[in-house]
Symmetry: C2
Subunit: 175 residues, 2 copies
């Protein structure tokens, strides 16, 4: 078990309070946990971002571990994920070897980082697979080919629309 205080493996609202998180901190952590869930990220990622978001000053990994009651492994991986998406930044404090973390608060940057890191690669992969598919279709008999080309063109059209919308939406978020 990752921590000494709890009587079981679940980190619920009660245990969070016991660890010294205020009601507001607990609520913000919960809020971001449900957002993380919506975006298909692990719960621990939501917890960490939520805690940093609620916290006035930056936090080191061991502080995050202590306050959320999660394991070193989860904290390390969660912070890496958040760094990869540029949802958190490290800040340096004189006389302290640890890395301190603070959250990115700009919606535009959060969205851009998530799109670039987590969505972009998968769309690129899809695009690659579609290209392969078009090769297969080109070899089919004319009757069959007509139907399949129609379908694949439909997806291509979706992709073109998406590629127009995304940069536009990001500009919209600039504010």
């Amino acid at each position: 078990m990752a921590h000494s205080a709890g009587t079981n493996g679940k980190r619920g609202r009660d245990e969070m309070s016991r660890r010294g998180l205020s009601q507001v901190e607990v609520a913000l952590v919960e809020f971001f946990v449900s957002l993380a869930d919506m975006a298909g990220m692990p719960k621990s990622v939501g917890e960490i971002y939520g805690l940093l978001f609620a916290s006035e000053e930056s936090l080191a990994m061991d502080e995050i571990i202590a306050r959320l009651g999660l394991s070193k492994g989860s904290a390390s991986q969660g912070l890496r994920f958040l760094r990869d998406c540029q949802a958190v930044r490290t800040v340096y404090r004189v006389g302290d070897r640890r890395d301190f973390y603070e959250p990115e608060l700009g919606l535009r940057n959060l969205a851009a980082g998530f799109l670039k890191e987590k969505i972009g690669p998968r769309l690129a992969e899809g695009s690659r697979k579609l290209a392969q598919l078009e090769e297969v279709i080109a070899k089919e008999t004319p009757t069959l080919r007509r139907v399949h080309e129609n379908r694949v063109h439909r997806i291509r059209s979706w992709q073109r629309t998406g590629q127009k919308i995304i940069p536009f939406a990001l500009k919209f978020l600039k504010a």
Copy 2:
């Protein structure tokens, strides 16, 4: 086990081919499985939509079951999910009691259905939780309150931006 042909529980590319799916159908099913995964939907939902998308004519549930080799339960639940999001429609054929399904092909309608059915309720729930949180914050001491209000206002601002973008993006997709 849901089907008689396979030697194990996995439905891979090989088994799909054996069931009489063409190379193109297999590729389209795979394509939508990975899209479904990206959107946090069960694989079976992607399979079903992919098969319908690849299919020139509408299909009944038992045909979907036979061709994809999934269970009655999965097919029923998957089709319900797709109907809920308006990603598929039922069509009627004379002299056949079964419901036949065809896919929605318009990106705008697909996106709108997904947002309304799967994203909307969660955002509403988040909004509700934020309102509760604001009540708690209002009761805090002035010093603490200042910090927390700042954080929550940030989220409110995100929400306002999101609420402006979504209808705009949907209009953009109308084409």
